[in-house]
Amino acid sequence: MSNDVASELDQLNQSVNELLANPPDWLADWVSGSTLWDLIVNNGLQAVGIGAIGWLLATYLERRHNAQMSAREELLTGVRVSTTKKTGPTAHEGTMVVGSVVIAHDFFRTLIIQLRKLIGGNIKPYERLVTRGRREAFIRLREEAALRGLDQVINVRFGSSHISGRFISSVELVAYGTGIKTR
């Protein structure tokens, strides 16, 4: 039985290689002089290469982003934040402030996540992604408050949702609250 399958595959491989050896004109530039195995190896290496470069760049950009956020957070110590609705007696002006960001993984890590999801459990790359995105959204919220001269943000709410783009799916993280002036 397995011999039959093997010989059929062999025949298929041979017929594909014959086709590749005598390709139609429109395909000749792409495949002339190569076998099926050559095509798989060459294009596979290209795809893995691009994916790996993207992965390295993504790791570098993630580190840089985290460092930038730490620096920006140090400037925002003047804005106090709470999730309660208490305004206090000195509050005299308020408006809603919003911070949001859309963030996505590189394709290589997406592939790894797909494999990881087969096993289940904690999906570390996604945890890192949403933590980073939420931190960015929270910083933007406080930056907007600081820009408007508000010194406290109360009743802060977080939200996250999946944004499916036409070619890429990403995550949106949003933080919003009421900024008030207490001085």
Binding site: G54, H92, A104, G159, R166, F167, I168, S170
Partner: protein
């Protein structure tokens, strides 16, 4: 028009509740932004095109909610909540809803 997501407006008090007001919008970006997002996906990170899409959409939803509140003769919208959901590839629905109120100044402010 004052927008807050707490049950009061700082420095003023609520005179009258006028009811629920709501604004929503479904927005997409042109296909060029989607292609740019695809290439950004090679390295991951923030997708600026979609961030802008959601910021614009949220502003649009809040301004529609404000228009609704203006029709009711409100001074402020309080206790505002916002939701986002992905409707189809490359488009998102943004919704904002809250309670329209009339205000009076607090006496001892």
């Amino acid at each position: 028009m004052i927008i807050t997501n707490i049950e009061a407006v700082p420095g003023q008090s609520v005179a009258e509740e006028l009811g629920l007001v709501l604004g929503s919008t479904v927005r997409g970006k042109h296909v060029g932004k989607d292609i740019a997002a695809f290439f950004k996906g090679l390295v991951g990170g923030e997708i600026k095109g979609y961030s802008d899409l959601l910021v614009e959409g949220r502003e649009e939803a809040i301004s529609r909610m404000k228009n609704h509140a203006v029709k009711l003769g409100a001074d402020a919208v309080i206790n505002v909540r916002m939701t986002t959901s992905s409707i189809t590839g490359g488009a998102a629905e943004l919704m904002a809803y809250g309670t329209a109120v009339k205000l009076t100044p607090t006496e001892n402010a």
